[in-house]
């Protein structure tokens, strides 16, 4: 039965393959003069979902993806927590897209530096910007730059092997860490700081990060938010992971949950379930088994609500280093999602040796020719059409701001494609004149000494990483520098 099953599958693949050939056989030559050529800037999930949908929707379109790093997949590789391997399954679909005949990947190409957006617009009928949100919002408080204060973006980049964060070297020799912000990134960081090391050893977390975490003395992590439990930005899956994290117990303040129970009935289901989980964790007397589990736990996590950072306090003995944080106590004005935190004037100091600021990522402008709303840190757009810039589109976090899970990015990218298809059909996006596409761009890159990494060259890096991981019982051991990536790619 195994073999008969497999046989059917094999013959089916072949059949699909033939049909595929039929549709696309000599596709590039056949459509070279009139097929729409689209390029995508940024090889993360938004870029790949945009490419996938475009290729599927139009049998004549060709898509080139330009990525600054030699390796693809953006935040799926560098953002998704190492202990969430299931989320990374989307890479399988991205890989099939990248291997498609009408899709090409060019890594190691820094648009904004190696190429201008205008040059891409000259070579392609349409340009989609999906380079995400590489900056981080600053707290804007005194002491923010003291040693011992890190942005979550850098901390996550460090444990996930982002080359620019390789030398972060966070000092985890303290007992208490404070995380500012209560989104899923903050919860990921808290989980990584408190996870039993044996759980992390089986993930693709980098070996240097694993070694630092193994020596970590952090025992207590406080996750601080400006507003209340019914405004927390994290989602229920991540909060539940904290509740269930082995060898940890929750430490919440009953005062943070005053009146929350009464507010439950008016909440929509997702917010209600999340709030109920926190209420139960904070207020209910645990059952015998849970009580025992908490008693044995050597590490502590806690959510702290209604607190805003005012100042990072320097160590009196080492003034370049932080030793604590001053928090302002807030009241809420209004209710629900729109409630605003208002200062009460009351202050509170917390001693800690590590602060991680996780108050949000931020998109940056990469080219002065592209409209950019620096207040909202997005490209102003209408359903993915960049305003006052025909032929320019955006998808992902650059389009919406840095929120949402993978399904949000998927839908958002599909929307942008829908806008582009409408524009192609209506003639708003003119695709009648032939464009050179990657041909002219590759010539430009060669002149400038830039060596793009193709998808098959990335697959060499991939194999090497998987090989190194297998040797130490991990799914992958990431290469940590651009130089080494290029070397393995054969550049």
């Amino acid at each position: 039965m195994l073999f008969s099953g497999l046989k059917v599958w094999t013959s089916r693949s072949l059949w699909i393959h033939r049909l595929h050939e039929g549709i696309n056989g000599g596709g590039k030559a056949r459509y070279s003069s009139c097929s729409p050529k689209v390029c995508i800037v940024g090889g993360g999930p938004a870029g790949f979902y945009t490419a996938q949908h475009l290729i599927k929707a139009r049998p004549d379109v060709t898509v080139d993806i330009y990525e600054r790093l030699p390796v693809p997949f953006g935040l799926v590789r560098f953002g998704v927590a190492p202990d969430h391997p299931e989320v990374k399954n989307v890479i399988n679909t991205f890989t099939q897209t990248a291997r498609h005949k009408r899709c090409s990947f060019y890594g190691n190409v820094n648009v904004g530096k190696d190429l201008s957006v205008t040059e891409l617009q000259e070579a392609y009928h349409a340009v989609v910007l999906s380079y995400g949100a590489e900056g981080n919002r600053r707290m804007g408080v005194p002491g923010e730059d003291l040693s011992g204060v890190y942005s979550a973006k850098d901390f996550v980049g460090w444990y996930n092997g982002l080359p620019s964060c390789r030398e972060l070297g966070p000092d985890l020799s303290c007992e208490t860490a404070v995380i500012l912000g209560q989104g899923n990134v903050a919860l990921d960081v808290a989980r990584v700081l408190l996870s039993p090391i044996d759980l992390l050893k089986k993930t693709d977390i980098t070996q240097p990060a694993l070694e630092v975490l193994e020596e970590s003395r952090v025992r207590r992590v406080l996750i601080v938010g400006r507003r209340g439990p019914t405004q927390i930005a994290g989602t229920v899956k991540e909060v539940r992971e904290m509740v269930n994290l082995p060898n940890t117990r929750p430490d919440m303040l009953a005062s943070d949950f005053e009146g929350v129970k009464e507010a439950l009935k008016d909440l929509p289901r997702p917010r209600k379930r999340l709030t109920e989980l926190m209420l139960k964790t904070a207020m209910e007397t645990p059952g015998e088994k849970e009580h025992e589990r908490r008693e044995k736990a050597s590490r502590v996590w806690g959510l702290r609500f209604y607190r805003s950072p005012v100042e990072i306090l320097a160590d009196p003995e080492r003034s370049s280093r932080m030793a604590g944080i001053r928090l302002a106590v807030n009241n809420l004005e209004g209710s629900g999602e729109e409630a605003r935190a208002v200062l009460t004037g009351e202050m509170e100091d917390v001693s800690c040796g590590l602060i991680i600021s996780s108050i949000g990522y931020k998109s940056l402008s990469i080219d002065p020719s592209v409209p950019f709303d620096s207040h909202r840190a997005i490209v102003p757009n209408n359903m993915g059409r960049i305003q006052e810039a025909p032929g320019l589109y955006c998808s992902g976090w650059l389009k919406t701001g840095p929120t949402g899970v993978i399904a949000t990015t998927l839908n958002n990218s599909f929307d942008t494609v829908r806008s582009m298809l409408e524009d192609m059909d209506s003639g708003t996006l003119n695709t009648s004149a032939a464009k050179p596409g990657s041909q002219s761009i590759n010539a430009l890159l060669e002149n400038r000494g830039v060596k793009p990494v193709t998808f098959s060259e990335w697959e060499k890096i991939d194999s090497e990483e998987v090989r190194r991981g297998a040797a130490i019982g991990k799914p992958r051991e990431k290469l940590l520098t651009v130089e080494e990536m290029l070397q393995v790619a054969g550049k």
């Binding site: 399988n92 099939q96 498609h100 989602t235 539940r240 999340l274 899970v405």
Partner: protein, 160 residues
Amino acid sequence: MALVTALRRLVRLREFAWRTAAVTSGSWPRTQSFSSGHLLRSDNKVTVHFFNRDGEKITVKGSPGDSLLDIVINEDLDFDGFGACEGTLACSTCHLIFEEETYKSLGPVTDEEMDMLDLAYGLSDTSRLGCQICLTKRMEGMVARVPESVADIRQSQDGS
């Protein structure tokens, strides 16, 4: 047998991913003639009616034990973005909406499934994730609706 199932599933998922990335919508046969189990166990099949995002009805058959996500993959049903995490309970893209009676018969929902459903677009009281529902003979003739995405709703409001 678990290994065989896992292996076959892997082959299907890879192929499905490749197909969804590769092909013009509508150019795929929506028959069951290429489904692996059909020739072997045709007497044992369960009929399922899907309504896609455009409201179009698609009737297919699946084998008991297959999840609704498996059926979507096996039958090459073209539901955009369906099954992004490949059935590992890490996304909500295989969200389906059922009739109330059907929903009640589907059995209990785990917290983890509810957690993911809470992030789904168009969440309803009778929503489930397709990857968590395994076919039984009792489900013969069930109806599952793929919800519209938020963008579709917004677009229809714009009239665009």
